[in-house]
C-alpha cells in the first residue's frame, strides 16, 4: 500500500491524475465566465457606454484555486485514502504467533486475542500456515497448520497466572524451515527471551507487539513493627509519578467479602518499587485475605495473605498478684519477649480475657482455677481454643490433677516433681530427645544448650505415650497434649522462665511456640520451615487475580514450594493458598524480591503497539470536500456573473446554511465510521455547538420568562374553554388586587399557562380549574408538574362543582380530577383540619367558600404523630406547605373582578353574598400567604416556650 504519513491509498495510480491539474489551470484560466443575456428596454441608454476596466474576462485566481482544490480532492478521494490502514503481515512464509500468555497480559488480553485473530484471519486469506504458541505452556513441538484450525482455539486461550519461565527449553522445538513471527509480548524480560527472539529474527521477520498497559505487581505483604507493609513493583526504568490504590479485602463478621482497608502507593521519580504501611487494627488485619490494586484485573495485582499476616491474640495469665520481684524472674517475661513481636498479648484475668476471644491462653504456673473460670476455659477450649500451661512451683505444690485428671490438664501429675543436675542431685541436667514423628515439633533442630534442671512429672497412665509430644532424652515427658473438643490443652512441664530450664532462653522455645501456632512468623516461611511437608493448594488464582477453588490439585512438596516462592509460580505449582499441617502459606505471583525488567529485542525486530488506530476511510470526506468546493464554486461563479445579486442575500445565506448543513452530517458520518472516541468527540462538538446556539441571543421563551418573573405572578392552567379561562384570569386578577390592597404581596397580572409548553418553575401558585372534558397532560407535562410540586409549588384544584369534597368526586369534574391527579405526586390528603395553618396565615378562617359555600377542602394530611402543643390550640405541624389544595367552590368566580374592581359574577344573595365573597377573598389571601410564607404561622406554637426561655 502506498503510504503518505499515516494515510494509505487503496488505488494509488489514480493519484497520477493530479498531474493534469496544471493543465486544467491554464484551460480554466482561458475561459471566462459566460455572459448573461438579459432583455432590458433601457439598453437604448446604454448604447455607446464602454467598460472602464476590461480585465475581468479571465477567471479570478481564487476561483481557479477553488476549482483546483475541488478537482484535487476528487482525485485524492477516488484514490481511496485510508487513515491508519491496518498493517499487513506481508509474506507467505509460515507464520508463528507467539503469545507470552502470562498474567502481565491479562489486562489487555481480549485486545491481544483480537489482534492475533486479525492476523490469523489475514493469514488465512493469504493461505499461510500458522502456529500459535503460548510460552507459559510446557514446551512442545510446533506444527504449522491452516489458519482456520487455530481460529476456534485462539478464542479459548487464556493467560496463565504465572509468567513464562523456561524459554530456553522452547528453542529446539521449532521447525527448521523459515517462518515469520508475530510476538505478542508483555514487554517483560523473561529468562531466555533474548535467545528465543534471536532465533525468531534469524528465521524470518520478527514483529513484536507490546501492550501499552503498564505492568505493576504487588509483593507479598510483610509485617513490620505493627504495620502491614504492602509493596508494589513496576517496570524498571519506567519513571514518573504514579499512584496505585491498594485495597485489602476479606470477609466481614457476617462472612460477606468486602473492602476492609485502602491505601495509596506512590511511586516517585525513577524508583521501581514503592511501599505503603497500613496500620490496621488486629481485628481487621486478621480478616484481610488478599490485597489487590484497585481496578486492575491481573494476578500480579493481587497478593494473598496467609497465616504470616495473622496475628494471634494470646492471653497471658499468671497466678495471683504480680509478685514484687526481678523482671527476669517473672514467669511471663520470656513469653512476652517471644510473643510480643508476633502476637497481640492480652494480660488480664481469665474472665476478662476470654470475651476478647484470644486464640491461645497461656497459664504460667497457675494451679487453681475458680469454678466459673474453669467452666469458661473448658467451654472456650472445646470451641477450638489452645490452652498452654506451664508448670512451676505452684503447680508442683498443688494437688491439681493429682488423683483425678483435671479437665484442663493433659496428664495427671506426680506429687512434687524432680530436680536434676543440681547440687543435691545425682544426675546431670537432662537434654531433649529428638522430637518423635507425629509431634508438632517434628523436624525442629535441637540446640545443644537446652538443659532441663527441674520439672513436674506425669503419672504413667495408659494414654501418656500418645499425649507426649516432647520428651527428655531419658524418656520423661516434657510436653504433653490433650485434645478437648475442637481445642487442645498443652502442658509444658517446666516453667516459662529460666528457673527450671534453659528452654525459654533458646531459639527452640520460639519455634515450639510457632509450631503450636501460638505465635506466627512475620516473614515468609523459608525452605526449612516448608520442607518435610506436603502442601496442598486450597485456593488458586487465575491470571485475572480471581480466586478459584483448587479442587483436586495434587499437593506440592515443601522444597518445591520453597523454590516457587523465590522463582515465582509455574504450571506445577499455581499461585494460591497452600495448606500444610497446621498453617497455610500463600504462593503469590510475585516473590518478595521479584522485579520487572523491560524486554530487549533484536534490532531487526519490528515493534508495534497493541493499540491500533482504527482504520478510517477518508474517501467520503475527500469526495464531499470536492462536492462542497464545487457548490461553493457554483455560488462564486454566480456571484461573479452577477446572477447572485438578483437572487438576493437571502438566497446566499440559505446557500451557506445549506453548505454547513451538508458538511455537518458528513462529519458525523465520518465519526460514526471511525472509532468510538472520535464519535464522542464529534458528539461533544455538536453539543458545544448546541450550547453555543442556546447561549446566543434571546430565546423564544424569554419574554414569557421575563413576564413571569417580573414579580410574584399567579398562574392558572388554561383549560381551552375560553369562558373558564377568562374567569380564571379575572379571578386571579381580582385576588391580586385584593392582595395588593391588603397585604405586602403585590402580584403581577396573572398568566395563563399551557402545561405542555410553558415552564412552571416561575410560579409559586397555580390555579387549576378542572373541566369535565379536561385532557390528560402528557408525560413530559407530568414530569414538570411533579417537579413543580416537589420544589414547593402549590396547585389549587378547583372542580367548580361544589361537591367533590363532600362526596369524593361524584361529578364528572371530580372524575376528571381523579384522572388527572392519578399521575401526580400527591401525598396523602385529608379534609382540612381545624388547626391547619391555612386557617390563620393572614385571616382567621374556618370556612373556605368561593362562589359556592358548601364543602370543605382537602389538603396534605398531617403526620399521624402530630401532638397537641401545650397551652395552644394547635398541633405541632411545622413541616411542609401542602402541595395541593383540592376543592370545588369555584373560587375564581368569587374573586373575579374587572379592571375597575367591579365584581363580575354574583355570589349568594344580598349581604350574605357579600359576606361570602369577602370570606372567599380572605381565603385567597390566606392561600397565597401560605404559599409564600409556608408554615411560619405554625411556628407560633413555640411562642410560649420562647417567652418562657426569655424569662418573661
Amino acid at each position: 500500500m502506498f503510504m503518505i504519513g499515516p494515510i494509505g491509498f487503496l488505488t494509488p495510480w489514480i493519484l497520477w491524475g493530479l498531474v493534469i491539474l496544471p493543465l486544467l489551470w491554464f484551460l480554466l484560466r482561458a475561459v471566462p465566465p459566460a455572459p448573461i443575456r438579459r432583455r432590458f428596454p433601457g439598453v437604448a441608454l446604454l448604447l455607446g457606454l464602454t467598460d472602464e476596466d476590461a480585465e475581468t474576462d479571465r477567471t479570478p485566481w481564487w476561483l481557479l484555486l477553488l476549482r483546483m482544490l475541488a478537482v484535487a480532492a476528487a482525485i485524492i478521494g477516488f484514490a481511496g485514502p485510508v487513515l491508519n490502514p491496518e498493517p499487513k503481515q506481508a509474506g507467505n512464509a509460515p507464520l508463528l504467533i507467539v503469545l507470552d500468555g502470562g498474567w502481565a497480559e491479562a489486562r489487555d488480553w481480549p485486545r491481544r486475542v483480537e489482534r492475533a485473530g486479525m492476523v490469523l484471519e489475514e493469514a488465512g486469506r493469504d493461505g499461510r500456515v500458522v502456529a500459535v504458541v503460548r510460552l507459559t505452556d510446557q514446551p512442545q513441538e510446533i506444527t504449522f497448520r491452516a489458519a482456520s484450525d487455530w481460529q476456534g482455539r485462539l478464542a479459548v486461550i487464556e493467560p496463565s497466572p504465572w509468567l513464562p519461565q523456561n524459554l530456553e527449553a522452547w528453542v529446539d522445538r521449532f521447525p527448521a524451515e523459515n517462518f515469520d513471527t508475530l510476538w505478542l509480548s508483555d514487554g517483560l524480560a523473561h529468562p531466555g527471551r533474548d535467545m528465543l527472539a534471536g532465533l525468531f529474527a534469524d528465521k524470518g521477520q520478527l514483529t513484536v507487539i507490546e501492550g501499552d498497559a503498564p505492568v505493576v505487581g504487588l509483593h507479598p505483604v510483610a509485617f513490620d513493627e505493627g504495620a502491614v507493609v504492602v509493596s508494589a513493583s513496576r517496570l524498571v526504568g519506567q519513571g514518573g509519578e504514579a499512584s496505585l490504590e491498594v485495597v485489602g479485602r476479606g470477609p466481614d463478621p457476617s462472612g460477606i467479602e468486602r473492602e476492609l482497608a485502602r491505601a495509596t502507593i506512590e511511586f516517585t521519580g525513577d524508583e521501581a518499587r514503592a511501599e505503603v504501611k497500613m496500620d490496621l487494627p488486629p481485628e481487621l488485619r486478621n480478616r484481610v485475605t488478599r490485597f489487590e490494586i484497585a481496578g486492575l484485573r491481573s494476578a500480579g495485582a493481587v497478593t494473598l495473605t496467609d497465616d504470616s499476616l495473622k496475628r494471634r491474640k494470646v492471653a497471658l495469665i499468671t497466678a495471683g498478684p504480680q509478685a514484687e520481684g526481678l523482671q527476669l524472674l517473672s514467669p511471663l517475661h520470656y513469653l512476652r519477649q517471644a510473643l510480643a513481636p508476633v502476637a497481640d498479648l492480652i494480660e488480664a484475668p481469665i474472665l476478662t480475657a476470654l470475651p476478647a476471644s484470644p486464640d491461645a491462653v497461656v497459664l504460667a504456673d497457675v494451679a487453681r482455677l475458680t469454678a466459673p473460670e474453669e467452666a469458661a476455659l473448658v467451654e472456650w477450649v472445646e470451641k477450638g481454643g489452645l490452652l498452654l500451661r506451664f508448670a512451676g512451683p505452684r503447680l508442683a505444690a498443688s494437688d491439681v490433677s493429682r488423683y483425678e485428671e483435671d479437665p484442663l490438664m493433659p496428664v495427671r501429675l506426680r506429687e512434687g516433681g524432680r530436680a536434676l543436675g543440681g547440687a543435691m542431685s545425682w544426675g546431670d541436667a537432662k537434654k531433649l530427645a529428638p522430637f518423635p514423628e507425629g509431634s508438632p515439633f517434628f523436624g525442629l533442630a535441637l540446640p545443644d544448650d537446652v538443659q532441663i534442671a527441674e520439672q513436674v512429672l506425669a503419672q504413667p497412665d495408659p494414654e501418656l505415650g500418645t499425649r507426649t509430644i516432647a520428651a527428655l532424652d531419658d524418656g520423661t515427658p516434657l510436653v504433653t497434649r490433650k485434645f478437648i473438643g475442637e481445642g487442645q490443652v498443652v502442658l509444658i512441664h517446666v516453667t516459662a522462665n529460666a528457673e527450671w530450664s534453659t528452654l525459654p532462653l533458646s531459639g527452640l522455645f520460639v519455634q515450639m511456640l510457632e509450631r503450636l501456632a501460638i505465635s506466627t512468623r512475620p516473614a515468609q516461611p523459608g525452605a526449612r520451615e516448608l520442607a518435610g511437608q506436603i502442601w496442598v493448594p486450597e485456593v488458586t488464582l487465575n491470571a485475572w487475580g480471581e480466586e478459584r477453588d483448587a479442587g483436586e490439585v495434587a499437593g506440592v512438596p515443601g522444597e518445591e514450594l520453597a523454590d516457587a516462592m523465590t522463582a515465582g509460580p509455574g504450571p506445577a505449582h499455581p499461585p494460591g493458598l497452600y495448606a500444610g499441617a497446621d498453617r497455610r502459606v500463600a504462593l503469590n505471583v510475585l516473590g518478595a524480591e521479584a522485579s520487572f525488567a523491560a524486554a530487549e529485542w533484536p534490532a531487526s525486530a519490528q515493534i508495534e503497539g497493541l493499540a491500533l488506530m482504527p482504520e478510517q476511510s477518508l474517501k467520503g470526506g475527500f469526495l464531499s470536500a470536492a462536492l462542497i468546493a464545487l457548490l461553493v464554486d457554483i455560488l462564486a461563479a454566480l456571484w461573479l456573473g452577477g446572477r447572485l445579486r438578483r437572487l438576493g442575500r437571502g438566497v446566499a445565506v440559505l446557500a451557506v446554511a445549506m453548505l454547513a448543513a451538508l458538511a455537518a452530517p458528513q462529519a458525523q458520518a465520518q465519526d460514526a465510521t471511525g472509532q468510538q472516541g472520535a464519535g464522542q468527540q464529534g458528539a461533544g462538538q455538536q453539543e458545544t455547538a448546541q450550547q453555543g446556539s442556546t447561549a446566543a441571543g434571546p430565546q423564544p421563551g424569554d419574554d414569557f420568562a421575563i413576564r413571569a418573573t417580573n414579580g410574584v405572578t399567579l398562574a392558572f392552567v388554561k383549560t381551552g374553554d375560553p369562558q373558564i379561562d377568562e374567569i380564571s384570569d379575572y379571578g386571579l386578577r381580582g385576588l391580586g388586587d385584593t392582595l395588593w390592597q391588603r397585604t405586602s404581596i403585590e402580584p403581577e397580572p396573572p398568566i395563563g399557562i399551557d402545561l405542555e409548553t410553558d415552564e412552571l418553575a416561575f410560579f409559586p401558585f397555580i390555579y387549576w380549574p378542572i373541566t369535565a372534558d379536561a385532557p390528560l397532560p402528557s408525560d413530559a407535562a407530568y414530569v414538570k408538574l411533579n417537579q413543580f410540586l416537589r420544589t414547593g409549588g402549590m396547585i389549587l384544584f378547583d372542580t367548580r362543582d361544589a361537591n367533590v369534597a363532600s362526596v369524593g368526586g361524584g361529578s364528572s369534574e371530580g372524575q376528571a380530577l381523579q384522572r388527572i391527579a392519578a399521575g401526580l405526586d400527591i401525598p396523602a390528603l385529608e379534609p382540612i383540619p381545624e388547626d391547619h395553618v391555612l386557617t390563620r396565615t393572614f385571616y382567621l378562617l374556618q370556612t373556605f367558600p368561593g362562589r359556592w359555600a358548601e364543602g370543605t377542602i382537602w389538603v396534605e394530611a398531617a403526620p399521624a404523630d402530630a401532638a397537641q402543643a401545650e397551652g395552644v390550640p394547635f398541633r405541632n405541624l411545622n413541616d411542609g406547605v401542602t402541595p395541593v389544595v383540592i376543592g370545588g367552590n369555584d373560587w375564581a368566580a368569587a374573586w373575579a373582578a374587572d379592571e375597575n374592581g367591579v365584581t363580575l359574577l354574583p355570589v349568594g344573595r344580598g349581604a350574605a353574598g357579600d359576606q361570602q365573597r369577602e370570606i372567599a377573598r380572605r381565603f385567597g389571601v390566606n392561600l397565597i400567604m401560605h404559599v409564600l410564607t409556608g408554615n411560619y404561622k405554625s411556628d407560633q406554637v413555640h411562642v410560649p416556650a420562647l417567652l418562657d426561655r426569655l424569662g418573661q
Binding site: 439598453v43 446604454l46 452577477g642
Partner: protein
C-alpha cells in the same frame, strides 16, 4: 382581457370623486349641439335664482336669498359642458418589460392607468378617446369601447419604442401620453409640438420598471432590447450603473423641459409603486394644470 382590464380600472376609478375638467377653454371646445344652452344644470357657476316649486327638495332652497323675501328661492347653477380628453398609451414592445415576476409589465400598468382615468373622466361627463383608435365620446358605453381598444392595442408588430400619436386629438382639448419614453425623444418633441399647435394641453406620464430605475445588474451581461434589435455587451454591468442613471436623469430633465415649454406636465411612475398615486396625479394634473 378587456373585461378584466375594465373591471380592474373601474375598481380603481371608484375610489375617486367625479371629475369635471376645468372649463377653461369651454366655449372653444364645445361641440355643436352639445353646448351653449345657457340654462340651468350641473355646474359650479351661479346661474339664477328661481322660486321654489312643489317637489323641489328642501335642501335645494337657498335660505340666504329666501330670507330677504317672503317666497322661497332656489339657486340654480349653469350647466357646464364636457371636455375632450385624448389618451395615448405606448403600444411598443418595450412596454412589455417587467423586471420582476411579481410585477406587471409596464404596458399593463399604463393601460390600467389610462382606462381608470377614462372611467373617471367619463363619469364626470367628459369625452374620452384614444389617439388613433377611438374618437372622444362621452357615456358609459365608451368605457367598454376604450377597454376593448386598449386591450387589442398590444400589437405584435410594434417596434421597440413607440412615438406619441396625435391623430384624433381635438383642438383645445386635453391629451394624456403614457409611455416609458425610452425611445427617441425627437418623436415626443414632434408630437408635443403638434399638440401645442392645436392648443391641446395635457400630461406626460413616464411608466418605468424599478429595474430600469435601479439598474441592479452586475458582471458580464449582454443587454438586448425587447425585440432584440439593439444589443449592448458589457463585462462589468455594475460599472455602468452610474452612467446609466445619469443618462436616465438627463432624459427625464429633457422631458420635463419639453413639457414645460408647451404647458404640459410630466411625471414618472414606477410599476413597483401603487397605481393609485399615479392615477391621482393624472387626475390632479388634468384638473388643475399646475
Amino acid at each position: 382581457m378587456s373585461l378584466h382590464l375594465q373591471n380592474e380600472a373601474e375598481a380603481l376609478g371608484q375610489s375617486l370623486p367625479p371629475l369635471l375638467a376645468e372649463a377653461e377653454m369651454l366655449a372653444a371646445t364645445v361641440m355643436l349641439g352639445e353646448h351653449g344652452r345657457r340654462r340651468a344644470g350641473a355646474g359650479d357657476e351661479f346661474w339664477q335664482y328661481r322660486p321654489a316649486h312643489q317637489g323641489d327638495p328642501a335642501r335645494a332652497i337657498d335660505w340666504r336669498r329666501s330670507g330677504r323675501s317672503d317666497g322661497h328661492f332656489i339657486r340654480e347653477r349653469e350647466w357646464q359642458a364636457a371636455q375632450s380628453v385624448t389618451l395615448w398609451v405606448d403600444p411598443a414592445k418595450s412596454m412589455s418589460f417587467t423586471g420582476g415576476k411579481d410585477r406587471a409589465p409596464k404596458g399593463e400598468r399604463a393601460r390600467l392607468l389610462a382606462l381608470a382615468l377614462a372611467v373617471l373622466l367619463l363619469r364626470g361627463g367628459e369625452r374620452v378617446g384614444l389617439a388613433g383608435l377611438a374618437q372622444p365620446r362621452a357615456g358609459r358605453s365608451q368605457v367598454v369601447r376604450l377597454a376593448a381598444r386598449l386591450a387589442g392595442d398590444e400589437g405584435d408588430d410594434a417596434g421597440d419604442y413607440g412615438a406619441p400619436q396625435t391623430e384624433g386629438m381635438v383642438s383645445h382639448g386635453r391629451a394624456v401620453f403614457i409611455s416609458d419614453f425610452l425611445g427617441p425623444l425627437d418623436a415626443v418633441e414632434a408630437a408635443l409640438t403638434r399638440a401645442a399647435d392645436r392648443g391641446v394641453r395635457g400630461v406626460l406620464l413616464q411608466v418605468l420598471d424599478p429595474a430600469e430605475e435601479e439598474f441592479p445588474f452586475d458582471g458580464r451581461v449582454v443587454f438586448e432590447s425587447m425585440t432584440g434589435a439593439l444589443r449592448h455587451e458589457t463585462q462589468q454591468a455594475g460599472e455602468l450603473r452610474s452612467r446609466y442613471l445619469a443618462r436616465l436623469a438627463e432624459r427625464r430633465d429633457r422631458l420635463t423641459g419639453l413639457a414645460r415649454a408647451v404647458g404640459w406636465q410630466f411625471s414618472t411612475h414606477h410599476t413597483g409603486g401603487p397605481a393609485q398615486s399615479a392615477l391621482l396625479w393624472l387626475y390632479r394634473a388634468l384638473e388643475g394644470g399646475r
